[in-house]
């Protein structure tokens, strides 16, 4: 008996979500294609472009949409048969707006708590607690129609947490937030795991913001698993520096001069084709302090002005590039570089 319990806990500890060649096909599209992934406790980022299958995966994991093929377990429960039990222990924050404007946050969250099975008194107590934890104070008695996007996101998060789930699915929680609101939300997401002890699966199409928050990142594209690794691996391989320089009489094309000087020192640069400011911004991989020094020295030696040197927020596209980097592609980039 004891042994079984111990075993069960260990299994829970190891995987919160497990999928096995999970596929979902619609008449015209394949939303998920033989996706096999194990997700442990902690904060996990699910990254993919729009239409990559993130929402479809969440729907299947909540037991709301049957998979065409394969299987999935959430908290050790089979999604095909135990949907109700899963939804009792899991919270869900949708991507879209879902708040009726004419009720107050308190009333709404109390109602959602009861919908999760909490008795009336517990629902009220936990609503007050949860709203405070997400940072909603006096506003919670006002109708939600007058809330800012940031406040609405907090209410949406509160309704996902109010029944103290073991796992929450957060679908694009930073959507529509300004940089400050975004940072606050990311901090809150981090706290959901560290302070509340709840595992998190958070989706985003921006890898950069998940890097700082997540322990683990899963990248999917076109319903296929592209990559699943701990955040540390990502940061090590993808710290990208963007630099922009002025032109001078001596070097009418400053960007090009810097690129050539850097190459002479053995550092390859990419032009930022496809990104804003293309042609004027150079991207290079930073290997720590010395890269910054090198750039500074090179620019100073050429007598140019350094307009910008910043760490790039990684876009999902870079992961694809990174992941599929082959010699052939490198060669092609080189060729483009020479041509430019």
């Amino acid at each position: 008996m004891t042994l079984v319990v111990v075993l069960a806990t260990t299994v829970d500890d190891v995987t919160v979500i497990a999928t096995e060649s999970l596929s979902k096909r619609f008449p015209r599209v394949t939303a998920l294609d033989r996706l096999s992934v194990d997700i442990g406790p902690g904060v996990t980022g699910l990254v993919g472009a729009n239409g990559a299958g993130k929402s479809t995966l969440i729907k299947i994991l909540l037991g709301l949409s049957p998979a065409t093929e394969g299987r999935a377990d959430v908290l050790g429960l089979d999604v095909a048969t135990k949907g109700g039990a899963i939804r009792e222990r899991v919270g869900y924050m949708p991507e879209h707006d879902c708040l009726p404007p004419d009720v107050s946050a308190t009333e709404f969250v109390v109602h959602m708590a009861r919908m999760s099975g909490l008795p009336p008194t517990a629902a009220r107590e936990r609503t007050a607690d949860t709203l405070r934890h997400v940072g909603l104070y006096e506003e919670r008695y006002r109708p939600m129609g007058g809330y800012s996007t940031g406040m609405k996101q907090r209410v949406k998060l509160a309704q996902a947490l109010v029944h103290d789930p073991q796992l929450v699915f957060l679908d694009e929680p930073t959507n529509g937030l300004d940089p400050v609101g975004r940072d606050e939300m990311l901090g809150l997401i981090r706290r959901i795991h560290t302070d509340f002890g709840i595992s998190v699966l958070v989706t985003s199409h921006l890898l950069g913001e998940l890097e700082r928050t997540c322990d683990h990142v899963v990248v999917i594209d076109g319903g296929k698993l592209l990559r699943s690794s701990s955040t540390r691996d990502f940061t090590q391989t993808t710290t990208t520096l963007a630099i922009e320089v002025t032109d001078s009489d001596e070097h009418p094309d400053g960007t090009r001069a810097v690129r050539e000087a850097l190459r002479a020192r053995g550092v390859d640069t990419n032009d930022s084709s496809g990104l804003p400011g293309a042609g004027h911004i150079l991207l290079l991989t930073a290997d720590g302090e010395q890269t910054y020094d090198l750039v500074r020295d090179v620019v100073a030696d050429l007598g140019l002005g350094l307009v910008r040197m910043e760490q790039r927020r990684h876009h999902i596209a870079e992961v694809f590039r990174d992941d599929r980097t082959t010699d052939a592609q490198d060669a092609r980039k080189e060729a483009v570089g020479h041509g430019g």
Binding site: E88, C98, P101, R114, S116, P119, D129, G187, R190
Partner: protein, 301 residues
Amino acid sequence: MAVEQPLAPSGEQTRIHNIGYRNYDGPRLGRAYARRSLYSQSLRGAYGLGRSVKSKVLPMLLFVVMCVPAAIMVAVAVATKAKELPVDYTRYAIFLQAVIGLYVASQAPQAVSRDLRFKTVPLYFSRPIETVDYVRAKYAALASALFILTAAPLLVLYIGALLAKLDFTDQTKGFAQGLVSVALLSLLFAGIGLVISAVTPRRGFGIAAVIAVLTISYGAVSTIQAIAFDQNSPDAVPWIGLFSPITLIDGLQTAFLGASSSFPGGVDVSSAQGVVYVIVVLGIIAGCYGLLTRRYRKVGL
């Protein structure tokens, strides 16, 4: 995140400190409880309770409008020591059908269109309930709200009748028949109202569509009935009555609940025709339930 600095009086206002997250290990009452919670929330919502003051006005007003005539009749009956109430229990709802129609038109969209419009439906389905639970809770809530609306004036009449010392057995029988009649009416109207409203997330369209369906069908049916009666074919009158909700209830209670019909010429509905009425009423109720379930299976997340 924030580093706690307990001894930092540097202009920072007094604030409640985070007392930490508390886990919940109390009972989780599951699916049936969630369904009941949705039912009671929807029922309260149908009278604007738990919603803004503005949304209480119309349902409360209609409730008062339903009850006032009953109160006046009772007052008259008591004052004049009448031998019987000026109106049958079963006829009351038929007289005030416009008020009932208005209530359905205003509250059915409120019950379902709001959830669709503000996309709250996916949130419900991320909880232990299933689509059938949602449909049952909403259907039951609106039907109950309608029952309260239609049964309350009957209760006023009944209490008044007893106060006026009218015959107890007679009145009780009439009251019971009236209750059965309005219960069926509530189920029928709630079903029709919900099916129409669940199609559109726009409340306005829902209201207009429900009013249109109720008034146009009644207008058409009563006109055709009148024509049929004038053309010396009164036999056709009950059959025509099958095509609008309120005449359905009227015919059904004429056949089985001792009511006299409001059909032209007071045409009677035979028992055989009454059976058809019952089948049609129950069929529509079941059909509405089926359509709603189908509709929500598609909504999902």
